[in-house]
């Protein structure tokens, strides 16, 4: 799965056709989540989501089902743009060795509304870590 472009608000080239769900769902891990409202994925939540996703090796994709946009969940710019395109129904796709662990943690994060419980991990980009 090669990703080339940022999420834009023009119709995405990677149109999510329903048939592809059936096909892929046997191969990759895929879950649909619902956000409380369209502001749920605000900057802090986006940062938390990206930080969490970045801890895993697997490829993680976030797609907004209402408007067919998608982005790499490890890109903050992509996630912030996705949030800005509106839509509260998101699909998380994880593909790779640690996909299950990644999915579990991401779902937990969404469930807890991106609240912070584990602050011991300050993140990847901290050189002191």
């Amino acid at each position: 799965m090669k990703r080339t472009r940022a999420v834009s608000c023009q119709p995405s080239a990677r149109f999510l056709h329903p048939s592809s769900f059936i096909l892929y769902s046997f191969v990759v891990l895929r879950r649909i989540i619902r956000l409380e409202n369209r502001f749920s994925l605000h900057a802090r939540a986006a940062a938390r989501l990206v930080r969490t996703a970045s801890r895993y090796q697997c490829e993680i994709t976030l797609a907004a089902l209402d408007n067919k946009k998608e982005t790499d969940a490890k890109s903050i710019l992509g996630v912030m743009l996705l949030a800005g395109c509106g839509g509260t129904e998101l699909q998380i796709t994880a593909e790779g060795a640690d996909e299950e662990a990644a999915m579990v943690e991401l779902l937990r994060l969404v469930e807890e509304n991106f609240e912070d419980h584990d602050e011991t991990r300050t993140g990847l980009s901290d050189p002191q870590n």
Partner: protein, 611 residues
């Protein structure tokens, strides 16, 4: 007016040698009290004006190293900033630095820049600019201004990268020991770039009364003035400026008289009490008229501090902040369905608020969206006027959200002295509808077996002129009234407080505003109901003096002003205040009022404050 190339700050104080640039007075909005004289320092983001466009192939690895070094340096700066922010505003709010770090780390952003350097042979400067601008244009294309605003974080990162690339760093080596930060907009990360002890004052063009920067300025007692347009044209780095955070005035290169006046008022000023010196005696004028002071707040944690400072309760609790704090920002430009926060979450919040205040009254304003209630990242639209669907209107339009809030509130009311007030009421009809909803929710709770032990008072916020004129009718259904001066001024005078062109007009001293305030005080006295004032105006001793003179006895202000105002009130005479207020009401023009205040009251208040 351009900044001279190579202009450097002189560390020496330039008072007296200020002949180079004329002295000049600028008026803005006071955001954090106190007065300070010092050297201005422009916190402009550095933008290189000239840089190479292209590089040759053999330079690629060298230029890539230069780029990597800039990234690394930015990373270190941001990590430091995050630490300092955590210390300043808590881990919760330090996420802004985290977002910046993540943008720096964003592999798509990085790859796009690197490709431009390696494949297209762009200089790193050009590559960064072009990539950032491309992303920014996508952000700008978003329909929702709330998310458009997110682009500013990217802008911040771009500026930082460019500055580090050009090796214009070592900022700390350059900046003087004591400086007054001057910038169109001060973001949290800009503020954290400096050592806070060095910042003695803040002058900005844009900042909300409830923005994080303002809150920090107040808690660190840094005088701050906002709302000054074209700052960069007026104040240069190195100018000596006098910032008066009480009046909202900035003098550039002040004259000797102005400086002396500042020094004398400094010595005559009521000493700002330290946090360790609380004043628990009740507020009272010199001639024995009790004046009760309350705090305006949006956080439960400030309540205890406020009570320690001598407040009698919470005069305004902005409940919508809780919605903002909790995962969702209230919609701003366009009215939208307010975000729903679960009843239990609200209940827990209100309960801790009620418990913190104990037996002291808390006036909780139901969901209101508007100026000053926005989180720091959503400030862009704060200049706009707030007409239309907000306050009680919004609550009545979305009864489910309203009902949830009332249920949580009423349940929590058993734990303290919690009361309700409705914002933006413009007629008795809305008050009746609101009140009926409260009664319906009470009945509903009782049916469910929830015991409501005390009667919760339901008040009206007087912010719309329509409410002033129908107050007698409204008060038949309200237990108390609370004037929101900022909104009342704005709606009465059709002038936004951040609008520089009409900022002279935005004053509690305008005859129409004075007359409205008088009308409210009288109506409440007739109905034998309490009248609170909970706008910025109450925090200013001079305005407080006039409010007391008009008959108000319940003033609500920011917690850091309570002890200060209390000691100022102790020096005031109610009889004199009443005489002066009555005189002001008779003056025909705004000019006459201002003149009278300048000639008689300013000196009088200062004299009184010394006593």
């Amino acid at each position: 007016m351009r900044r001279e190339p190579g202009y450097r700050i002189r560390k020496t104080d330039r008072i007296g040698s200020a002949g180079r640039r004329a002295s000049f007075k600028l008026s803005g909005i006071p955001l954090s009290p106190g007065t300070i004289l010092g050297t201005a320092y422009q916190a402009e983001p550095f933008k290189p004006s000239f840089y190479r466009l292209g590089i040759s192939r053999h330079e690629v690895s060298q230029e890539m190293r230069r780029f990597e070094a800039a990234v690394e340096q930015s990373r270190q700066q941001l990590t430091g900033i995050r630490k300092r922010l955590e210390a300043l505003v808590g881990k919760d709010r330090a996420y802004i630095a985290d977002v910046h770090l993540l943008i720096l780390e964003d592999h798509r952003f990085r790859t796009e820049i690197e490709r431009r350097i390696v494949d297209r042979l762009y200089s790193p400067e050009r590559a960064i600019r072009e990539t950032a601008q491309e992303w920014l244009s996508i952000f700008r294309s978003l329909e929702d201004p709330f998310f458009q605003e997110r682009g500013s974080e990217l802008q911040d990162v771009e500026d930082r990268l460019l500055a580090n690339l050009t090796e214009v760093n070592g900022k700390t080596g350059l900046i003087p020991e004591a400086l007054i930060l001057v910038a169109p907009e001060v973001t949290l990360s800009v503020l954290a770039d400096y050592e806070l002890e060095r910042i003695k004052g803040l002058v900005v063009t844009r900042a909300g009364t409830a923005s994080h920067v303002t809150i920090i300025a107040r808690s660190y007692q840094i005088p701050m003035v906002s709302g000054i347009e074209n700052l960069i044209e007026h104040i240069l780095t190195g100018d000596t400026i006098l910032v008066d955070g009480d009046e909202g005035v900035v003098y550039r290169n002040p004259t000797r008289t102005e400086t002396e006046h500042y020094h004398s008022s400094q010595s005559g000023r009521v000493k700002r009490p330290d946090a360790g010196a609380p004043d628990s005696t009740p507020g009272m004028t010199a001639d024995g008229r009790p004046v009760y002071l309350y705090i305006n707040t949006e956080s439960e944690s400030e309540v205890l501090t406020g009570l320690k400072q001598g407040a009698e309760g919470v005069g305004l609790f902005r409940s919508e902040f809780m919605f903002v704090k909790n995962r969702a920002a209230t919609a701003r430009a366009r009215p939208a369905v307010p975000p729903v926060l679960s009843e239990q979450a609200q209940f827990e919040s209100y309960r801790s608020l009620a418990v913190a205040a104990g037996s002291k009254p808390v006036m909780l304003r139901t969901l209101d969206t508007g100026e000053g209630t926005l989180p720091v990242q959503a400030q862009a639209g704060f200049e706009q006027s707030w007409l239309g669907l907000r306050g009680i209107r919004l609550s009545l339009k979305y009864p489910e959200v309203f009902r949830l809030q009332l249920r949580a509130l009423l349940r929590a009311s058993a734990f303290g002295n919690l009361n309700i007030m409705f914002p933006m009421v413009s007629s008795a009809d809305e008050m009746i509808q609101g009140r009926e909803t409260v009664q319906a929710v009470e009945a509903e709770l009782e049916r469910e077996g929830v015991k409501l032990e005390r009667r919760v008072e339901v008040g009206v916020m007087v912010e719309v002129p329509a409410a002033v004129f129908t107050l007698d009718a409204i008060l038949e259904h309200a237990d108390f009234a609370a004037v929101g001066t900022n909104d009342l001024i704005q709606y009465t005078l059709a002038a936004g407080r951040a609008d520089d062109l009409v900022s002279d007009l935005f004053s509690p001293l305008h005859p129409a505003v004075l007359a409205s305030l008088k009308k409210v005080a009288d109506a409440c006295a007739r109905a034998n109901k309490k009248a609170y004032v909970c706008g910025e105006a109450a925090s200013h001793p001079l305005y407080a003096y006039i409010l007391i003179g008009l008959g108000f006895q319940h003033l609500s202000l920011h917690l850091h002003g309570v002890a200060y105002l209390k000691s100022a009130i102790r020096g005031m005479s109610y009889q004199a205040a009443r005489r002066h207020a009555n005189h002001l009401l008779k003056l025909p023009t705004f000019k006459a009022v201002n003149q009278f205040v300048q000639e008689h009251l300013e000196s009088q208040w200062k004299g009184l404050a010394q006593a």
